[in-house]
């Protein structure tokens, strides 16, 4: 007997679940469309407009055929690839240590990981120079210690320096992503291999490494995208135009020669490449995501203290080296902030003068009092709100994508990752468009900035949460449903608590990105909203490097505290 009439009314838990997450994640997609896709799309469409205002692909074709451009593209890919490789390689031992061992200072290291993001690249460069430069800390130390005539460390202004700086900036990402993923891998596969006679290195090579690949690719793609659009670091530390990237050429057209159409065309070329990369990344994630589920907890690796002397020594060495590596430039900045020339003699002495100026205790170049304090508060508030919203957005998007069959969710994932694939110069142009269409009350400005920060941070949050989300077994949700929970209730009582560590990682990224963001903040608010990066930028622009360093130090301190707190959240929920 055919009861087809029934089907229309059948409760479909899968359909309901999908619908719930679709609705909840819709605002995110709307946000993305209006704050990013539409304005950037309009800018990019200019690539197809000729001088006379006609539509044509001529510009694009000429560009693709230009050997210079192709050379630049090749170099951009090359430096990004090498940087990525180096960053990941450096990060792997650290990830191993963080994932497998329990030792003090672990949370500090995790906290340090995201600090480089917070600083504007110009300060990073400065920090680098202060630390590694010819007159820098390291060289001066060596010269004094070993009575050398010449500074021994001469890496700056070369390809090596560029890679080094990129690694500084980026290896913490790899460290963070890979180590948290590694932590969750069950040990039984390793144990099985060892029982079969494999030694530690072989176990790593044949058993662990393949399972780490999703996390490695994830981190590698992020890092590659950063280095692809790297700009300041390349020119300053590279030494000259032989190290030109596409971003430089886009900047040139957009800002110097006022060839927006050219900038758009070049940007399209660049995007074509980065989208391919993002797609590749997403595909690999999908392929490898079926691997793990959150296993019985006792199978997760427990942190153990290193036993053999070799292990202890090498881990200490690695820690020290990496801390120096990461902290070095930061130390440089902090160091410079405390140095003031004594008048006349020009000797540098330890001094709080820059801090006093920033907080208004001393008068400085006609400045209003307490700028730094208010900028700091503004920055933190914006970052906090943007973090919360982007966690929300990222989690809901992840929830929606998690239940999708392979292939169907790919376009949404791509959509969400797009902001990372586009040059910030072009995004800035898009912001001009947005800015011109909205009224400029303070509420609107602030809202726009928070939303823009959310758009920028969401890809990172998504990247942090999605792999973890995919690991939650479906049976948990099903069990909760049978116990009487509605779909939203399963989300809040089961999914969210289990995602806490991932939310912590994603939240840290989002916070750092927001604190260090300058493009959107400057343009969308007409700078009526003043955040710390803007102040730093202005200090640097008015000769006051030490002041910028002082502000940078405060920023670092502030972020370190926030991250340490987040680390605490993360640890308390890892059922260790």
């Amino acid at each position: 007997m055919n009861q087809k009439a029934h089907t229309a009314h059948m409760p479909d838990i899968q359909r309901d679940t999908a619908r719930f997450y679709r609705t909840m994640s819709a605002p995110a997609l709307v946000l993305l469309t209006f704050l990013f896709l539409i304005p950037v799309g309009i800018i990019l469409s200019k690539a197809f407009i000729t001088e006379g205002g006609q539509f044509s692909t001529e510009r694009l074709i000429t560009l693709i055929r230009d050997p210079y451009i192709l050379r630049v593209l090749r170099f951009t890919v090359l430096q990004a690839s090498v940087s990525t490789l180096v960053s990941v390689l450096i990060a792997l031992p650290g990830a191993y240590l963080l994932a497998n061992f329990q030792f003090r200072g672990k949370s500090i290291i995790r906290a340090i990981c995201t600090i480089p993001f917070v600083l504007p690249s110009i300060l990073v460069v400065l920090g680098f120079v202060i630390f590694y430069g010819n007159q820098g800390i390291i060289n001066t130390a060596f010269v004094k210690l070993f009575h050398l005539s010449e500074p021994p460390v001469k890496i700056l202004y070369s390809f090596k320096a560029v890679i080094l700086a990129h690694a500084f900036y980026n290896f913490p990402i790899a460290l963070g992503l890979i180590s948290s993923f590694w932590e969750q891998l069950p040990v039984r596969y390793d144990q099985a291999a060892m029982v079969m006679g494999a030694r530690k290195w072989t176990v790593f090579r044949t058993v662990t490494l393949p399972r780490l690949i999703p996390a490695i690719i994830s981190a590698a793609t992020l890092i590659f995208l950063f280095c692809f659009s790297s700009f300041v670091i390349l020119l300053v530390l590279g030494g000259g135009p032989q190290f030109t990237t596409l971003e430089v050429e886009i900047y040139r057209r957009a800002r110097m020669t006022l060839d927006i159409e050219g900038a758009a065309a070049l940007s399209l070329l660049s995007i074509g490449f980065t989208i391919l990369l993002v797609a590749l990344h997403l595909w690999s994630q999908r392929l490898l995501s079926h691997q793990e589920e959150i296993e019985q907890i006792d199978e997760r690796r427990r942190g153990r203290t290193p036993t053999s002397p070799l292990a202890t020594i090498s881990s200490i060495l690695y820690l020290v080296l990496s801390v120096i590596f990461v902290l070095g430039p930061l130390v440089g900045i902090v160091y410079r902030s405390f140095q003031a020339p004594v008048s006349r003699s020009q000797e540098m002495v330890f001094s709080f003068v820059w801090y006093r100026q920033l907080f208004g205790f001393d008068r400085a170049i006609g400045s209003p009092l307490g700028i730094a304090a208010s900028a700091l508060v503004t920055s933190i508030v914006i970052a906090a709100i943007a973090t919360v919203i982007s966690l929300f957005v990222g989690t809901l998007l992840a929830a929606r994508l998690r239940s999708k069959e392979a292939g169907k969710g790919a376009s949404i994932e791509l959509y969400a990752m797009l902001p990372m694939a586009v040059s910030s110069v072009v995004i800035g142009l898009g912001y001009y468009l947005i800015s011109s269409t909205v009224s400029h009350s303070t509420m609107v400005s602030r809202t726009l900035i928070v939303l823009a920060h959310t758009v920028i941070a969401s890809p990172f949050v998504l990247r942090s949460i999605l792999p973890e989300y995919r690991k939650i077994p479906r049976s948990y949700t099903q069990a909760a449903l049978t116990l009487g929970a509605t779909v939203p209730q399963t989300f809040s009582s089961i999914d969210l608590p289990l995602l806490r560590p991932a939310l912590a990682t994603g939240g840290a990224f989002a916070f750092a990105l927001s604190m260090g963001e300058i493009n959107a903040t400057l343009i969308l608010s007409d700078s009526s909203v003043v955040t710390v990066p803007i102040i730093m930028y202005r200090l640097i622009g008015s000769y006051n490097y030490a002041g910028a360093c002082a502000l940078g130090t405060i920023l670092i301190l502030c972020c370190a505290i926030v991250f340490a707190t987040i680390e605490r959240v993360r640890r308390s929920s890892s059922h260790a």
Binding site: M1, T7, M10, D16, P473, S475, A479, T482, G484, P497
Partner: protein, 354 residues
Amino acid sequence: MHETSLVCSHIRVSYPEFTLSLDLAVNKGELVSIIGPSGCGKSTTLQLITGLLTCDSGTITLNGRDITQQPVWERNIGMVFQDYALFPHLTVEKNIAYSLKLKKIGKTEQAQRVRQLLELVGLQGFQRRKIHELSGGERQRIALARALASEPQLLLLDEPLSALDAKMRRHLRKQIKHIHEATGITTLYVTHDQEEALTMSDRVLVMQQGVMEQFDTPEEIYNHPATLYAAQFMGEGTILPHAIIPQTLVSIDKGPDTVVFRSSGETRQIFFRPERVIVHDNPSLAFPEFLPHLRFTEASVLSCEYQGGRYLLTCGWHHHHILAYSRFKPKHDQVTLGVRINDLVEYVDEAVAR
């Protein structure tokens, strides 16, 4: 008169591998096992009943109430999943009280109920424990306690013991049975272990490829399996082509024509259980004569497996294998086997000839 509790009527679901069709009624307080090989639709059946999957057509009624339209969270059906699905971020107490909390039951009442349930499953005092501290058997029982917390009208268990070792399985089997009797709750129990099905159930549902092969008491299924498939699933036995009957039939009182059989054909087969076979290994002694039976002479003993109290013999006879139980180990390589006609089940094309 048994009161029906769960009725699945004309349930049809199409899958790429098979079409699931269900038509069954479970009585109140019954424990029904669903048994079958992997992929036959057992777990799917449970998911359909809970509402986690939907049917193309049909209705599901629970205690007179049509629940086909109801969403999962309203059906109040307790389910224990294969991996237990205990929430790792909650303590034992919070896990068990999860459904109670959703129902907004007060804290003291929750605590009391949790205590009762822990007592029921024999894990008093476990409230504060973390899930990862529990052993497999303990988790299973906590999962059970959790499923029972909201006093559901139906309890579903999806291969709850498959992750445990044999001894634990037997022990927990008794426990589950005991809990079932104590609560009187209608229970559906999915397993691939026929021993479990036989020992625990009031009735057994044998499934294959989405089809209900047989739904009957364990004894009936064992002794009168509806299909060859059911026969083989629920214990060991011997399958022989129908054609051997004329070759081996022995009738002491009258001729072979007094025994009536259905018309023979190539698709017909007969089946009998090993315990129904008489093993006679001493040719010098007379074969115990009894009612019309099939006598297999000069069967050679291929293997003899000790099963603790009896031997399972695999005997070869004219290119067939016959399984038989024997109290004693055969002294000779050749034995004579006998099977009573009444102990045969006939099958046409795998289904029982009626």
